[in-house]
Structure formats: structure tokens, C-alpha cells
């Protein structure tokens, strides 16, 4: 009976298709109605700017929130956001922001200076354990407050002289401060809403649901079915709503890059987050107008958990890093114009190119491993490499697995995990090697090197080095660009020497995009403010 039904339904489908001709695809309909359909990679972990950590979180949050400053769609230079103007004191230590009168939350209330202060206080509250809290350390007294050395928030360099003025006092001058403000951890949340659904200062608050969500961005959360679809709809209360041309953005969390590509081809998506490596050449040849390879300020690397036996030996870590044939990995496996990575900071980041190198040297790698007491891999334990599920990540991991087996005699086991579980494992330190990537938050080496600071919430490897932290501390307080770069060089040399990570390649962003998407400019950080994007049917 069931089989008969199945057969009948197939017949019905066939007749439907033959009868009505091709149906209008989601993309064609979207072009007509200004609804952008985009793949977003793994599902987002958190709808809370204070707790979000990943690029797919940014992809969604940037539609739902807006910080004091926003980004120019082409250059990413700071442009007025919630703040309509700002002044900088002559000593570059105090920034005064004037909030616009018509900035509104999606529930209609005004966005005030108090909202910002309360949000930042929340980020710095130790109990919340926000991964990105250290980005606020640049503010006077923020570090002490976050580390619990002071419980008085009024000692932190934030103040609100009135409802529409925010004043921030920095610990030291920083030319990149306005770019730093574009990071999501600085975006405001609506505290009264949070308090309605639990404690605002602890994790696990359930305010980020369509019925309860309050944001201040050009779009607001309409619906969210985890793992399927998140719909952000144009917000009527946004101050610049008249200039927002998209009516809605549909985010599809498709972890399987192959499935994402099929969805794109089937007319379900305007743009994808990634592209299966095997398809790059075919698109290059047949449909180059759909393929985009944008520069992308990021590093693809493996974290090494240095608290684990075997991996706590510097020589072993260096051996692993040296026994990677990056040229072939990038040129033959990835084929997307990436650069082989021999250090952590991408070359040319804010005028800085790392000199330290973890080059490819199989003989040296074997020698180091033998010195560590594992000649030819004898006596070495099986090393586990944790991956979040993705065809591309697995391909790279399989290539490395074989390099390490062939060159060092090491056995590496690949462990697959779905995105969210992988994040939990990372937070708990339950990994040995872990696939990771770091995308710059702003174009400055500090954005990369500060990941490895001992107190960084993004370190996760258990590695810390006081000399390294000291160098970063000095660099942050050095104004002369050359002297600052020298300090970064020293820090990077130290980092590369200790190798708590294995650099693999510097990113390019390879994705597919429909020609009807306008205003999607190649930017170094892969930020594309949705308010400047529109659709135009060809």
C-alpha cells in the first residue's frame, strides 16, 4: 500500500511539473520581493552578541544589531551607527559618542547610553564568562573588573553623562579603536528583556527567541527553526529604515557544503558560505560569473592542546608543524588562491608581515621527534584530531593525516563533531588537536596575536607565556608604528617557536553568488552590511 502511495505521489509530482512548466525558484521570487536567501555554514551557536564567537554568528547578528559605529560597505571604515557623531580627545584617550535621537529597539524603545553601559557591564561580568571580553580590556579598568580584582563598575572607563552621550576612556591610545568598536561584543542588548527571561548576567538566558527577541539592527528576528531556517525581517523601528532595501534575509544553516552547493544550483540560495573544493575548477571553467574568490583576513590552523601528554612537548609540536607540505596542500588540494601559512598573522595585516616561519622541513621534523624520544613515531600515542563536520575540513585533515603517517610515523585519528558540540569540546578543552580558524576582527596584528595571550578567551590551548603577554602589553602601549611592529615580530617569533598551533593556510573566501545580488563588495573581513545590499533581477 505504501509503495503504491509512493508511486502515485511520484506520478502526481511528475504531472505537476509537466503541466505547469518550471516553478518560480526561491531566488527568482526573492529577487522580486527583495528577500535575500543565503547559506550561513554551521548553525549559529548564540543569538547573544556578548556570547557569540563564530563567523556564522556574526553573519546573523550583523543583521539584528548595530553598534555605536557601523561599517562602510566597501572599505569597512567606521561610519556613524547608533552614534551620529563622535569626538576624540587630543591625547587619543577619551572618545565621546553622541547617540542619535531616533535610534530605536525593535520594541519601539529608544536606544540609550544606559543600554550600552549595561551591555558592556554584562560582557565584563566574570560570571558570564564571555569569550570575547578581553576585547574590552582596552578600556580603562575593564581588565581589573573582568578579573574580579575590582567590583566597582564606576571605576571602569565608561560613562554616560546623559541619555544620549557615551564616553569611553581608554587605557592607552589605540589607532584602531573605532574599528574595534565594530566587533559584535560591543553591540548593545536590551537588558530589561533579558531580565524578563532569567538572569542577564549568567549563561543560558532564553531571550533569543523570535517571540522575545529585541534588537536594534536594520532587521529583526522573525522566526528561527534551529538547523533549518532563520528569518530576519526588515525592522520598522530602525532609524535608517528608509534606506534599507532588503525586505528580509533568510539564513540557511547548511553544514554540508555539497548540499549547500546543490541548494544554490537549485535556485534556493543567492549566495553560499562555502564551496566544495572539488567544484572550484568546474565553476571556474563553466560559470565563472557565479564564483567569487575574495580576499579574507584569516588563518586556518590546528590548535594543539598543550596540557595533554605528548603534545605538551615543544619538540613534538614543532615536529607536527614542520611535517606539513603546505605548498601542495594549498596548490593541489585547496585550489582557491589561498596562501600557505608559516606563522599566525596573515602577511600585510596592518602593514605587518611576520618574519618568523614554521616552514616545511621533514628531516628536521623527524629529528625533533626522535629527540623527543619517539624515533620514527615509535612509542608515540595515537593523536586525535577534532573536526567540525565539513567535507572540506575532512579533506584537509585526511591529507595531513597521511603526511604525518608517512613522514613521522604518527597515527592520527580523525574525530568528527557537529558544529555546536565541537564548540563545547573546545570550551572544555576536550581535544588534542582541533581544526580552527581565526578571522581578524580588525586589520591589525593585535587582532591575531592577542588570541594567544594567557588570559585570552579565544586561546583554548592551555598555552601561555609571560614573556609573550609582556610583549603584547608593550605593543599595545607603543605608538610608534615601527617599534610596535618590532614588538609584534618578537611576539610572533616566540609563538612560532613554542608552536601551540599548526598554521596551515591564509584564507581566501571562496563562495558562489548570484549576479542579482548587488552591493556585495569584496572586503578583507568578509563583512557585508546588509543595509547596503539589494537585489536586482538581471
Amino acid at each position: 500500500m505504501r509503495r503504491l502511495l509512493g508511486f502515485l505521489s511520484v506520478l502526481l509530482c511528475l504531472s505537476a511539473f509537466s503541466g505547469c512548466g518550471p516553478r518560480e525558484t526561491a531566488v527568482a521570487r526573492g529577487d522580486r520581493e527583495q528577500v535575500l536567501h543565503r547559506g550561513m555554514g554551521p548553525d549559529l551557536a548564540d543569538l547573544d552578541p556578548a556570547l557569540a564567537t563564530g563567523t556564522s554568528d556574526y553573519t546573523v547578528l550583523s543583521a539584528l544589531f548595530e553598534g555605536l559605529v557601523a561599517e562602510d560597505p566597501k572599505t569597512l571604515a567606521p561610519v556613524p551607527g547608533v552614534a551620529e557623531s563622535w569626538e576624540v580627545s587630543p591625547d587619543h584617550l577619551t572618545y565621546t559618542f553622541h547617540l542619535r535621537a531616533n535610534a530605536r529597539w525593535s520594541n519601539g524603545e529608544a536606544v540609550t547610553a544606559r543600554d550600552f553601559l549595561a551591555s558592556w557591564r554584562r560582557v565584563l561580568t566574570p560570571a558570564l564568562a564571555a569569550d570575547n571580553a578581553s576585547l574590552l580590556y582596552i578600556v580603562q579598568g575593564a581588565e581589573a573588573f573582568h578579573k574580579g580584582q575590582s567590583a566597582d563598575f564606576s571605576q571602569v572607563g565608561f560613562s554616560a553623562p546623559d541619555d544620549r552621550t557615551v564616553r569611553i576612556t581608554l587605557e592607552h591610545p589605540a589607532a584602531y579603536f573605532l574599528s574595534l568598536l565594530q566587533h559584535w561584543v560591543w553591540w548593545p542588548v536590551h537588558l530589561p528583556t533579558l531580565e524578563k527571561y532569567g538572569s542577564a548576567f549568567e549563561r543560558g538566558n532564553r531571550w533569543g527567541r523570535p517571540e522575545t527577541f529585541v534588537g536594534n539592527g536594520p532587521f529583526t528576528l522573525k522566526s528561527w527553526r534551529s538547523g533549518q531556517l532563520l528569518v530576519a525581517e526588515k525592522s520598522a523601528t530602525y532609524w535608517d529604515a528608509a534606506n534599507v532595501r532588503l525586505q528580509a534575509v533568510h539564513f540557511y544553516p547548511i553544514e554540508d557544503v555539497g548540499a549547500e552547493e546543490r541548494a544554490f544550483r537549485g535556485g534556493q540560495l543567492h549566495l553560499t558560505e562555502a564551496l566544495p573544493i572539488a567544484k572550484i575548477d568546474a565553476y571556474r571553467k563553466d560559470q565563472p560569473q557565479l564564483l567569487r574568490i575574495d580576499p579574507y583576513l584569516g588563518t586556518y590552523f590546528y590548535r594543539i592542546n598543550v596540557t595533554r601528554p605528548f603534545l605538551n612537548e615543544r619538540k613534538v609540536r614543532r615536529a607536527l608543524a614542520l611535517a606539513v607540505d603546505r605548498d601542495n596542500l594549498v596548490g593541489r588540494v585547496l585550489r582557491g588562491g589561498q596562501l600557505p601559512a608559516y606563522a599566525f598573522t596573515p602577511p600585510g595585516t596592518g602593514g605587518y608581515t611576520p618574519e618568523a616561519r614554521l616552514g616545511t622541513d621533514f628531516a628536521e621534523a623527524r629529528r625533533l621527534l626522535a629527540e623527543a624520544g619517539y624515533p620514527g613515531g615509535k612509542g608515540a600515542p595515537v593523536v586525535e584530531l577534532l573536526l567540525n563536520t565539513s567535507e572540506n575540513h575532512r579533506l584537509i585533515a585526511e591529507a595531513l593525516q597521511e603526511m604525518w603517517r608517512r613522514e613521522l610515523g604518527l597515527e592520527v585519528r580523525l574525530v568528527n563533531m557537529e558544529g555546536k558540540s565541537a564548540l563545547v569540546a573546545r570550551r572544555m578543552g576536550e581535544f588534542q588537536l582541533m581544526r580552527s580558524s581565526w578571522i581578524g576582527d580588525y586589520a591589525d596584528p593585535a587582532s591575531f596575536l592577542s588570541v594567544w595571550a594567557g588570559d585570552s578567551g579565544n586561546n583554548y590551548t592551555g598555552w601561555s607565556n609571560p614573556a609573550y603577554d609582556q610583549l603584547l602589553y608593550q605593543a599595545a602601549r607603543t605608538e610608534d608604528p615601527d617599534a610596535r611592529r618590532q614588538l609584534f615580530q618578537k611576539a610572533e617569533a616566540l609563538l612560532v617557536d613554542e608552536a601551540p598551533f599548526i598554521p596551515l593556510y591564509y584564507y581566501t573566501h571562496v563562495f558562489l553568488i548570484r549576479p542579482s545580488v548587488k552591493g556585495w563588495y569584496p572586503t578583507l573581513l568578509d563583512h557585508h552590511p546588509y543595509k547596503h545590499v539589494w537585489l536586482e533581477a538581471p
Binding site: 566544495p276 572539488a278 601542495n328 575532512r394 585526511e398 591529507a399 580523525l414 568528527n416
Partner: protein, 301 residues
């Protein structure tokens, strides 16, 4: 083994010219060997198994060694079936993967068969309260989402390929036990069972020597269907990261990889899929043949 021993045969009143009796197994073998399709299936299976077991020892190429510079190339003299995107020889991977897939198929199926038949036969034979309890347990296990059950087993016992075989077998027996129970219920009241009962045979003997041989038909057919299902299951689990892990391969993994790249590198799909289909067809033909051959009711033709 299953035929009544000569002493138990009623000896009186038989004509002296009776043709010599043959065992049901010999009969079955005879019928099977006359079924061309079944023989074809059996031969293919044996050849495939032999190739997969012995092949990798004679191959010049290793299933895990890569040649990144080479990348994916179509079939040629050095690589008979071409290479995958990491430059690994597909033929070696296919043979090596065959070991895993065939092992999974057979071990998991045997586990499912043993548990399922025993369980179903006991429930069906005794009936009543015992039957209700046993079948409710099956219902409960049915209600458990399969993947979660396997994941639980894997988490509990660790990642081990042998455990994977047993874990799959341990969840695949449910349907088998239901089929067996139904069959047993339907033949329970038949005359020859009554006869065996009145001859005073023990329950165990009745179940295992009189009932199970009579329900082998559906059991064998279902078994031949279980093997491919189990192979596919293994592929699915491997994809989730619970089954076979790289660099090992299995047919399921190869087919999945090939399907993703079929437009660019069709040979990566064509060869594993052909081999897999060939195995499934052979199993089905052999299963059909076995069912016909083992059907005791059609034995006196």
C-alpha cells in the same frame, strides 16, 4: 542433520524397492545448483570476497598513500580505476573498503539472525504472557531512535570497528524477530508439530529441528535484504563520524564521497556503485535461490 534418523523412520509396510533417501540438505543443494541465477550470484560473491581479502596483498598501491600532485585522475595503466582527489588509488581503496563492508554485512547480519531467530521463535512458540512481554520489549526498542541507540552504544563502549559491527547487528534483529514469531505462530498448530509433540520430543528439539527449518524461506529472504541495509547503515554512521574513520574506506564511504563529486570525477562514483550493486544483486539472487531450495514443503517434487 535435520532428517529423522533411520531408526525412527517407520520401517513396516514399505516396499523393498524404495529409492534411497536423500537428506534435505542434499536436496537443497541439488535444487540450488540447478538455479543458474543463484549460482551466478554465489560465484560473484565468492570471487568478490576472495578479491577483497587477498587483493590488497598483491596490489602495488596502498589504500592510504596519497599523491597530492597527482590529484584525481581517470582510470589509467598505473591506477586501473583512477584516483581520488588526494591522489589515492581507487582500486586499492575499493578492495580494502570491500573487506570492511562485507565484514559489516556478514557479521552484523549473523548477529541479527542469531538474536532475532532465537528471540522470535521463543516468543512465538510459548505465546501467552511471555510472548506479550517479549514483544513489548521489541516495541520499546523499535521506538528508540536508531541513531541515538547506536551512538549510545558507541559512547559506552568506545570507538571500535568490531563493536560497530555488533552494535548494528544488535539493532537490526527486531524486524527479524517479528517475522520469525509470526511464522512460528502460524505453524505451531500444524499436524507435524502436533506429531512431534505427541512423540514426546522436548521443546528445544521441536523449536530448532522442526519449526525453524520450516520457516527458513522468509528468514533467508529477509537476511539477504538485511545485508545491504546493514552496509548502507555503516556508510551512514561513518558519515556521522561514528563508523569507519579515515583513512580507512568502505563501500558506503566511497559511494558517498563519489556522489558528491560525480560531476567532476564520475569514476569515483561509477566503480564503487557498480561493485556495490553487483554485490546486492548477487545476494538477492542467491537469497531467492536459497529460499526455493530450502523450502521443505516443495521438497518432494
Amino acid at each position: 542433520m535435520l532428517s529423522p534418523s533411520p531408526e525412527k523412520l517407520p520401517s513396516a509396510g514399505l516396499p523393498p524397492t524404495l529409492e534411497p533417501g536423500t537428506s534435505p540438505w542434499r536436496d537443497a543443494w541439488h535444487r540450488l545448483s540447478r538455479n543458474r541465477l543463484a549460482v551466478f550470484g554465489g560465484v560473484i560473491l565468492i570471487v568478490l570476497t576472495a578479491l577483497c581479502v587477498a587483493g590488497p596483498w598483491f596490489m602495488g598501491n596502498d589504500y592510504q598513500s596519497q599523491d597530492l600532485r597527482l590529484g584525481a585522475v581517470p582510470p589509467n595503466a598505473a591506477h586501473w580505476l583512477g584516483t581520488d582527489t588526494l591522489g589515492r588509488d581507487l582500486f586499492s581503496r575499493l578492495l580494502y573498503g570491500g573487506r570492511i563492508s562485507l565484514l559489516v554485512g556478514f557479521i552484523a547480519t549473523v548477529v541479527a539472525l542469531v538474536i532475532g531467530v532465537t528471540y522470535g521463535a521463543i516468543a512465538g512458540f510459548f505465546g501467552g504472557k511471555l510472548d506479550s512481554v517479549m514483544m513489548r520489549i521489541v516495541d520499546i526498542l523499535y521506538a528508540l531512535p536508531f541513531t541515538i541507540f547506536v551512538i549510545l552504544l558507541m559512547v559506552f563502549f568506545g570507538r571500535n570497528i568490531w563493536l560497530l559491527f555488533f552494535a548494528i547487528g544488535a539493532v537490526e534483529w527486531l524486524t527479524m524477530s517479528r517475522i520469525v514469531r509470526g511464522q512460528i505462530m502460524s505453524i505451531k498448530r500444524m499436524e507435524y508439530i502436533e506429531a512431534a509433540r505427541s512423540l514426546g520430543f522436548g521443546r528445544r528439539r521441536i523449536i530448532f529441528r522442526h519449526m525453524i527449518p520450516n520457516i527458513l524461506g522468509p528468514v533467508i529472504v529477509y537476511t539477504t535484504l538485511t545485508i545491504p541495509a546493514v552496509m548502507l547503515l555503516e556508510a551512514f554512521l561513518s558519515f556521522l563520524g561514528l563508523g569507519v574513520q579515515p583513512p580507512m574506506s568502505s563501500w558506503g564511504v566511497l559511494i558517498k564521497d563519489g556522489a558528491e563529486k560525480m560531476e567532476e570525477y564520475p569514476w569515483l562514483l561509477i566503480f564503487p556503485a557498480t561493485l556495490f550493486s553487483l554485490t546486492l544483486f548477487s545476494l538477492n539472487f542467491l537469497g531467492d535461490g536459497l529460499r526455493d531450495a530450502l523450502d521443505v514443503r516443495s521438497s518432494k517434487d
